[in-house]
Structures are given as structure tokens and as C-alpha cells.
């Protein structure tokens, strides 16, 4: 079974040289820590920076330089700042090659719910609806089950949707799964996790091939 960093490590393997990548808050943010040396990837933060770097050294933080999680950050050489309309032009116009974001629920038709729980305080969707509606390549990073132990991979989402039919791949603490033809397709098992455990933790339709390799995570 993977921890959050393990999920991030596995997702980092999906990244290709030269890609522009938008990482959501939470587990997705950790993906930046596992990009292999020598791979040239630029991180976009939708509040208006391309070429986001690591957190600043103590004392170097700048109130005018934050990411979409409102954290102080730095800019890499070659970075560029822009306004919010231009930022979402990049996203909506499919110039960002990969979007990684968290979810409360994912459905076997690719629907995603990650912004609202009826009866609870609604904080808003931020940029998530724009991201999922437009990105060609969306990976959801999340735990396979919620705190109550219920599967987050469902036949249909029960929560209000963020986007429809958009998720292509899910990486959880248990598995890598692709979504196509209205079903989850098991691609890889997390180290030490059995196919049976994944089947038990998945509420939606799950297609299991004969051979399900274990993830290769260094």
C-alpha cells in the first residue's frame, strides 16, 4: 500500500519531458518532488505563474509570489507571470499537458466530484471545473477509500459533480486504474496489495486483466 508520497512518486512516472503540468492542492503538489533529474518540466499555477519553483528559503518569502494554494513560492529561471485570464487561456486552450488533482469521488464513466458536500460549508470550486473540463490528460490522485472505509471509485458519483467524463487515470494508495468504456480498468497494483483487496475496495465496475503487474517505485 502506498502513502501519499508513494502516490505522488507513481504519478511522477507519468510525466514526460517538456510537459507543462498543473498540480492541484494536496497529494498532487507532492508530485513536483519526484520528477527525475534531467527531465524538464514546467509547473503552472493557475493564479499566474509558469515555472514555479520550490518554497523560498526562510526570510526570502515574498507576499507577491504565491501559488494557487496561497503558499509562498519561488520562480525558476525562465519563469513568467501572467494574469488569471491568460492563465485559464492556457488551461482551457489545452496548452497544459497534464493536470493532477484530488477527488472525493470518481465514477467509472470518468465523472469527478471534488468540490462540494451538501449540508457542509461550500468553499467553492476554484479552478477545478476549468481544469477538468479542458485538460486532455487528467490524473486523479487520491486514497482508494474515504475515512469511513467506503470506496471513492463508484458506479456513479453521489456528490455534486466537478466535471463529466473527464478522468482518464486514477492513482490511489492501492492501484493505478484507467477509465474507459464506462469501467475502471486495473493497470497496476501497489506494492504488497492483492487484486482481491483492490476489487473489494472498488465499488464501481472493475475490469481486471489476467496479469496485473506491481508498480515499480524506487
Amino acid at each position: 500500500m502506498l502513502d501519499k508520497n508513494g502516490i505522488a512518486k507513481r504519478i511522477a512516472q507519468e510525466v514526460r519531458n517538456g510537459w507543462y503540468v498543473n498540480l492541484g492542492i494536496g497529494i498532487p503538489t507532492l508530485v513536483a518532488n519526484y520528477i527525475p533529474d534531467g527531465m524538464e518540466v514546467e509547473f503552472q499555477s493557475e493564479n499566474g505563474i509558469l515555472g514555479m519553483g520550490p518554497f523560498p528559503l526562510e526570510g526570502d518569502e515574498d507576499a507577491d509570489l504565491i501559488n494557487a494554494g496561497k503558499q509562498t513560492i519561488t520562480a525558476m529561471p525562465g519563469a513568467v507571470y501572467f494574469d488569471s485570464a491568460t492563465s485559464f487561456a492556457m488551461i482551457r486552450g489545452q496548452h497544459v499537458q497534464l493536470t493532477v488533482l484530488g477527488a472525493m469521488e470518481v465514477a467509472q464513466n470518468g465523472d469527478i466530484a471534488n468540490w462540494k458536500i451538501p449540508g457542509k460549508m461550500v468553499k467553492g470550486m476554484g479552478g477545478a471545473m476549468d481544469l477538468v473540463a479542458s485538460a486532455e490528460n487528467i490524473i486523479v490522485a487520491m486514497m482508494h477509500t474515504n475515512r469511513a472505509g467506503q470506496s471513492k471509485l463508484l458506479e456513479a458519483c453521489s456528490l455534486p459533480l466537478t466535471g463529466v467524463g473527464c478522468v482518464k487515470r486514477v492513482v490511489t494508495n492501492l492501484a493505478v486504474l484507467d477509465i474507459r468504456e464506462g469501467a475502471f480498468h486495473l493497470v497496476e497494483r501497489a506494492p504488497g496489495v492483492t487484486v482481491e483487496e483492490i476489487v473489494a475496495a472498488t465499488a464501481g465496475t472493475l475490469v481486471v486483466p489476467d496479469d496485473v503487474p506491481e508498480m515499480q517505485i524506487s
Partner: protein
Amino acid sequence: MAISKVVTGSAAACSGVQSGMTLMLGGFGLCGIPECSIAELVRLEVNDLTCISNNAGVDDFGLGLLLQKRQIRKMISSYVGENDEFERQMLSGELEVDLIPQGSLAERCRAGGAGIPAFYTPAGFGTEVAEGKEVRKFNGKPHILESALTADFAFVKAWKGDTAGNLVYKATARNFNPMMAMAGKITIAEVEELVPEGTLNPNEIHTPGIFVQRIFKGEGYEKRIEQRTVRPRQTESNA
């Protein structure tokens, strides 16, 4: 030569703002918010306001200051966490909230400033954001029709500005400010540095002065950081 847009301070800048008006306020979180104008709006005690702003500040800073005084009737935002008073007013029904996808919010402000009354976007299709909106397919993909947003007053914060109202923002403090500057019937810019016309490089201006009606030098910027995240420094001996 352009006419001078300079006013003496936030009080003069906010002249004419009245209860019941629709205001736009730039900023993302607490980054790039018009601090001085917000302070003046609190002093003015205008209320029943509709505020268009990506976020709603925190309890004791940014738009949170207007929420504390119950000056806001309706918020139009994409994300409104980090604010207990906001949550209380929203759950009690005192505050109306219209949540909009962040990219649609930015584009709707730009459209308002650019004379584009409406446009199609895929964002929000199939969600409650699409309720009551026209859906149309382009290239086989469904999109929803979103309309332009404008405001009686737009408040923006820039790093540098000149007397003609030309503005330059710093780093990610740019965010929503340029589009809101375009969309205000009257746009008020507060700046950290106010310079004479001709000082800014005409090639490096982010907001042309034509979009700005009043400009003033803000005082006493706090520029509060919402999430201070840092890496520890190595000790000197390891450097």
C-alpha cells in the same frame, strides 16, 4: 499628454461609492488585494454591496473586514474558504454567494471590459454551474454560455503606476487585477509607487491607463501572507 488621474488618497478615490453598488476587487487570496481601498470602504460604512472577487479574504483582513461589518450582501467568487465569519453568514442566509469557476470568472470580467457580452466555455458543463444556462456543442463537445461581468467600481492594486493610470503589477499579485481594471465603470487603482507620466517603459505596462479613472499612492501596506511556506536555511558552515 494624458490627463492626470491622480487623486490624493483612498478617501478621494472612493468618492461616489454607494450602498447597493456592485464592486470588483482584484487579488488572489490576500495577494494583490487593494488594501487601502478596502479600508476606506469600511470607513465609508457603505453596505448592501455585491462584491466580485476571486476570494473573500480571511476573518480579519481583505474582504473579511467588510464581512465583519456586514457590508456585503452578495459575493461572486470562485473560492471562499479560510473565513469563519463568511461561513457563518452564508450558512445563516445573511450572505448570498454565487460560486463561479475561476477561469470563467476571469474571462467574464475580461469580457465585461472588452465589450463581449457572452462566450461559450466547457467549464462547468454537467455541473450545477450549468443550471439554467444555454448548452451548445462545438466540435462535438458541450459548452455553456457565460455572460460578461461589469461593476460600478473596480478596485485594483498595482506595484507601480503613472499619473496617466498606466499600471505594472508584480509577480503573481497581477492575477485578477488587469481584467477587473477593464470591467469597472469607474476603476480605482492603488499603487505602491506612483511615478510621473513617461517614466514607465511603454512596452512593459500591463494595464493601459485608458482602463483607469483614478489612481493614488497607497500607504502602510501590510501585504499579509496567508500561507508562509519556507525551506530551512543551511547553516553557514554547510554553505
